[in-house]
């Protein structure tokens, strides 16, 4: 997929935005300013940003419990996301959803989902809808290595293959499902390998290379858009933080994490590339990071300053026609 220098810089910026957003969420959670659970995806930015960069605004995504990055990459605004994580009335879901349940339907974000593998079946519906309405939209469903073992994966991929639904299944294989290593739990060696069972393409990408991800996903998106049906993309990636904030992480060593950080960090790698290619200077990048950091601070402030919901609002919005 052809890409301009401007677009490259935008990719870096988005990855930085996600990183800073997530780091901030981690901090705010530690400070007990965010209730509930929080799952961060620091380290996985290239997979997410590369994938979403191949989509149009009117395309759909469905996200997971580890969803902030997907939602940001598809164009949601940090301030409403912070507000939602704080349980404020100005949040995307008026404080009813929280970190695990953010959606922005105006941007095609059909929502994060607290049920692992819960998004697969729903995306088949978006696929049928696209076909029946006769548009050329595409749906992308993000999922983890762990989610690939749920029956919903099988039913949805088969359904999508049978009806040639315009869906791209994007696995972010971060090597663990909670405490369980993918290599132990995913029989058959890889998630992409499962594609062949359904007669559809299955591709494995270096998930810390944002351009590689983007290219490979763009191909799958194009295929879907033209009516040739679904694909499975597997981005090999890694999460630096625990499964959730507070995870004791006895299933891996600090050393393993450090190795990734040092050798495969998606932002570092892309920064170096842009500098090497002469697309951006270190100074530009630093300025960009400062600007993003300021935006994040503004967004947090917006959320902090927002009011809590009136408790009675809990009773609003269950039905359209009560």
């Amino acid at each position: 997929m052809k890409i301009s220098n401007l677009e490259k810089k935008a990719l870096l910026r988005k990855m930085v935005e996600i990183r800073l957003f997530e780091e901030k969420i981690g901090l705010l959670f530690q400070q007990q300013l965010i209730p509930g659970f929080v799952h961060l995806s620091i380290g996985q930015e290239a997979s997410t940003v590369g994938s979403c960069s191949a989509l149009r605004t009117d395309d759909y995504i469905i996200s997971t419990h580890r969803g902030h990055a997907h939602i940001l990459a598809k164009g949601a605004e940090p301030k409403y996301m912070f507000a939602e994580c704080f349980g404020k009335v100005t949040g995307y879901c008026k404080g009813k959803g929280g970190s695990m349940h953010i959606a922005d339907f105006s941007k095609g974000i059909l929502g994060a989902n607290g049920v692992v593998g819960g998004g697969f079946p729903i995306m088949t519906g978006a696929g049928f809808s696209i076909k029946l309405r006769g548009t050329d939209q595409v749906g992308m469903v993000f999922f983890g290595d762990g989610a690939s073992n749920r029956g919903t994966f099988h039913e949805a991929v088969n359904m999508a293959a049978v009806f040639k639904l315009p869906i791209v299944f994007v696995c972010e294989n971060n090597r663990y499902a909670s405490t369980s290593p993918a290599e132990k739990m995913v029989a058959g060696g890889s998630v992409a390998n499962r594609a062949h069972a359904y007669g559809i393409p299955g591709v494995i990408n270096d998930g810390s290379n944002v351009l590689a991800v983007r290219d490979s996903v763009a191909e799958a998106v194009e295929r879907a858009r033209r009516g040739y049906g679904p694909s499975i993309i597997e981005n090999e990636t890694y999460r630096y933080k625990g499964h959730f904030e507070g995870d004791r992480q006895r299933y891996r060593t600090p050393d393993e994490i450090q190795q990734y950080r040092l050798t495969r960090d998606p932002i570092d790698r892309f920064e170096t590339l842009l500098i090497d290619e002469g697309v951006a200077t270190q100074k530009e990048i630093d300025a960009m990071k400062t600007a993003v950091a300021a935006e994040i601070e503004d967004a947090v402030r917006f959320a902090m300053d927002s009011p809590l919901p009136d408790p009675h609002e809990a009773m609003q919005g269950l039905f359209v026609n009560p």
């Binding site: 879901c93 819960g118 079946p121 519906g125 029946l132 919903t152 039905f319």
Partner: protein, 326 residues
């Protein structure tokens, strides 16, 4: 306009035809719909009229129900055919954690105009895994509406209302009633959700019922009348929303209530209804609210045992007398 006798099957097909002609966003998705017009013939004639809008799928209930959810979220008005109501069990996450919650938990950003249509009930000697009435599970889940018609005219009118409704509706249609006939006007109409109907006026006791048990209750009322007891029968038609006003009005008159459903008594909707009546109308009550439902076992296959487990007309008669202390 003329009134015809139609079966529940035909009434249903007519509702679908009228609505699908009116609104192109409606489609039906499920297993084995096309070739035989559905396993109960309920879709007969429709695949020819709307060839792209009746979709036969693989046996993948989570994907089928999920497909309904995702399509509803993106501008369509799906009707999900659950094949047998017992198989809701294979897609409860999609129904309970997704369909019911998405609108609310995303702060009202989305609407889910869909119908999950499920043929339920026993009486066909179909044994434990094909005979259940599970409506109270869904009454207990905020975010779902629950419809349980008995008469063909209501099947038609309520299905149309359910389709037009912007919220997810679980529509239980009793398997033994597909061939049940009744008058249906040729005029177009809908029956709004949340309105019960008095099937028989009476002064001595209020029988609250729905679905197939409505017919059993009518028979019981005839027997009771012979014994000098005039039962008022209310067919609830929808359980969520519930027309409690009509219930209360009747009980204010009769001062006695009996709840009759085919589902197992224990943990069933009868408990909800009885509790609510006691809570709101205690001072009016001349006796306990009596519940009649299936005994607490899975449905056995052998017809003699199936009959024993299900509520029968004489159980209803006895229940009414217990309520009246006669």
């Amino acid at each position: 306009m003329a009134v015809r006798e139609l079966s529940c099957s035909l009434a249903m097909a007519e509702a679908l035809k009228e609505e699908m002609e009116r609104d192109k966003t409606i489609f039906i998705i499920g297993e084995d719909l096309v070739s035989n017009g559905g396993i109960f013939g309920q879709f007969r004639g429709l695949p020819e009229l709307f060839p792209d809008r009746i979709i036969d799928t693989p046996i993948s209930e989570t994907a089928i129900v999920g497909a309904g959810v995702g399509a509803a979220l993106t501008g369509m008005r799906p009707i999900i055919d659950m094949h047998f109501a017992d198989f809701v069990t294979t897609a409860m996450d999609e129904i309970v954690n997704q369909m019911a919650k998405i609108r609310y938990m995303f702060g009202g950003q989305a609407k889910l105009p869909l119908v999950l249509w499920a043929p339920d009930g026993s009486g066909l000697n179909a044994a434990a895994q094909h005979s259940q009435c599970l409506e109270n599970w869904f009454v207990h889940v905020p975010g779902l509406k629950v419809v349980v018609p008995s008469e063909p005219a209501d099947v038609k009118g309520l299905l149309k209302a359910a389709i037009r409704d912007d919220d997810p509706v679980i529509f239980f249609q009793h398997k033994k009633l597909f061939n049940q006939t009744g008058p249906v006007t040729e005029e177009k109409y809908i029956v709004p959700l949340g309105k019960a109907v008095v099937r028989r006026a009476g002064t001595d006791v209020t029988i609250l019922t729905y679905s197939r048990m409505t017919y059993f209750c009518k028979e019981a009322a005839r027997e009771l009348a012979r014994q000098g007891i005039q039962a008022e029968i209310i067919d609830l038609r929808t359980l969520m929303p519930l027309d409690f006003a009509s219930i209360a009005e009747s009980i204010r008159k009769t001062r006695h209530a009996v709840v009759v459903h085919e589902a197992c008594t224990t943990g069933g909707f009868g408990g909800e209804l009885s509790a609510r009546i006691t809570e709101e109308l205690f001072d009016l009550l001349g006796g306990p609210v009596v519940r009649i439902g299936a005994r607490h076992v899975p449905m056995p296959f052998s017809p003699v045992m199936e009959k024993y487990v299900l509520p029968q007309v004489e159980d209803i008669v006895a229940g009414v007398k217990k309520a009246l202390r006669r």
